[in-house]
């Protein structure tokens, strides 16, 4: 009888530990959100979006250049990553059993695990050093390399979900395999592919490390992609350690904007997946 009670106590202890773990993980989440919103709201106003950074020591100013920079560099990254990601996923899902497909899957997983700072060093070596020029292009390349594996893997998974009868139908009507893939399978998987792209954007929009020595930073407004360009993340990093209260406040505002961008992307991705699941009857 005693041992039964002991076993029950043990069991309850374990269940409490699991509940506690969940609470333990959610506490910092609540703290971070609270601080980012509370501190960020105070410094966030229209100026933040429309003005340029104020000279050191002066109050006011904004991050207009950095916001535009983030948009341009993530755009460049997408331009580079989406075709590679989607088309390699077509290959991997169409020729599943081939040796190259297995190798590509492994390479994508490996690339996904490479620390972002290492990607930064790599891009510095291939795109900055040869031309001796930091540039937004190099920054876009770094972010693009990080996006590729996410897009490839999600697109592959979602292409496999498209019922094979759809493709077979197209083939039976005399379509070539390419036609079947590009006119039937890809459009059917489109919401899924968009999900993958959104997830990739959510992952890289907040990246700082790969931009530190590729796109560098720029205090001035610039849309020239062959020149250094400021981004929200790098700007937040420089302001975070600043001694000036005003710059610290701007850093929090930047963090709030960043969190909003990232959350919007992942929320949209989630909604798209949900719809997909309902459509497919999961």
């Amino acid at each position: 009888v005693n041992s039964t009670r002991l076993r029950k106590i043990k069991s309850n202890l374990f269940v409490s530990f699991c509940v506690l773990s969940v609470l333990l993980a959610l506490t910092p989440l609540a703290f971070i959100f609270f601080f980012v919103v509370q501190q960020g709201i105070q410094a966030l106003n229209l100026d933040f979006f429309t003005n340029m950074p104020a000279p050191v020591g002066e109050s006011g100013g904004g991050m207009a250049n950095a916001i535009v920079g983030t948009l341009i560099i993530t755009g460049l990254g997408s331009l580079f990553a989406i075709p590679i990601g989607v088309l390699s996923a077509v290959y991997v899902s169409e020729y599943k059993a081939s040796r190259l497909a297995t190798a590509t899957r492994f390479a994508a997983d490996t690339l996904n695990g490479v620390p972002s700072i290492v990607i930064g060093v790599f891009v510095y070596a291939v795109a900055v050093l040869p031309v001796k020029q930091f540039s937004a292009l190099a920054g876009g390349l770094a972010l693009g390399i990080m996006m590729i594996p996410i897009i490839t893997r999600t697109t592959e998974e979602l292409l496999l979900l498209v019922p094979s009868t759809m493709k077979e139908g197209a083939l039976a009507l005399g379509a070539t395999r390419a036609r079947a893939v590009f006119s039937v399978v890809l459009p059917a998987a489109l919401p899924g592919i968009i999900t993958g792209i959104l997830l990739a954007l959510a992952r890289i929009a907040g990246e700082t490390a790969p931009l530190l020595f590729t796109a560098l930073n720029n205090r001035f407004f610039s849309t020239v992609v062959t020149q250094p360009m400021g981004t929200l993340t790098v700007q937040v990093f420089t302001y975070a350690t600043s001694a000036y209260k005003d710059q610290q406040r701007q850093a929090w505002a930047g963090a709030l904007v960043l969190v909003s961008i990232v959350l919007t992307c992942s929320l949209l991705a989630r909604l798209a997946t949900r719809r997909l699941e309902r459509m497919r009857g999961f």
Partner: protein, 325 residues
Amino acid sequence: MPQTSFRTRRRLLSADAALKWSTSAFAALILLIVVSIGAELTRESMLSIRKFGLDFWVTRTWDPVQDQFGALPFIWGTLYSSVLALLMAGPVAIGIAVFLSELSPQRLRQPLVFLTELLAAIPSIVYGLWGIYTLVPFVRQLELLTPDWLKSIPLFAGPPVGNGMLAASLILAIMVIPFSASVAREVLKSVPISQREGAYALGATRFEAIKAVLFYARTGIIGAVMLGFGRALGETMAVTMVIGNNPLISTSLFAPQHTMAAVIANEFSEAASELYLDALVEIGLVLFIITMIVNSMSRILIWGMTRTRKSPKPATPSARIAEAV
């Protein structure tokens, strides 16, 4: 007409070949990127590799002025902070995974999964900012409250500065929990329901039944925790903002130290000499190799579990995506 059909077949075949070759070029490009990361990093660190050889990895001196470079303090800092993070995050991540897959009421499950995913979505730089202004002052308070007898232990020695190993490993732990938890949950999902039913039928308590499930899934769970470890090794911004960036080898949790990723982020754009730059690139190269090994090992462990899944229901798209990302 046999000739037309022959031509049609040829047309189809060549179109197939075109699809295959054009898409395979893109697939090969991914392979090429991974290979060239390794090759480029090796090429760009040749000066340092030639000059210091293996001594680079066991030397403590990091003196850019004298052109003396030893990476030991950074390797130590990376491993120490990641192991500490692993010790803290591992049990919590497993606890979360068990709760979400075995214990949670149906209605709570989706919202909780969503919240843990949010934790993974917060950018590293935001963690760092929060770390500087909230976590570090909190850790400093903790250090001030540490009684003297405890401070005589090397683990807690040193002045209370706040910035240091404890703050860094705490923030790393918070950051890797969601990764390990979500993969561990997928692994637990792949355990056949019969494992649980069998245990309950034998009169097991909840704990005993879950223990059986965890034992069944052990390789995958270890893989999930290792995947978190791999993330921690390469984490840069949040760590560099709270660890103190001081190349010191110390077991003290309170001492400001440094990591491989942090030293690259801090000193790369200031590296004045060729040798200095190459030494930093070599640190990047080793970081690349270490994370690749850790990640591959954990992927193999996780694959072994989830590939042989016998669960009757197919994985939902979100589960597949969670696995892919």
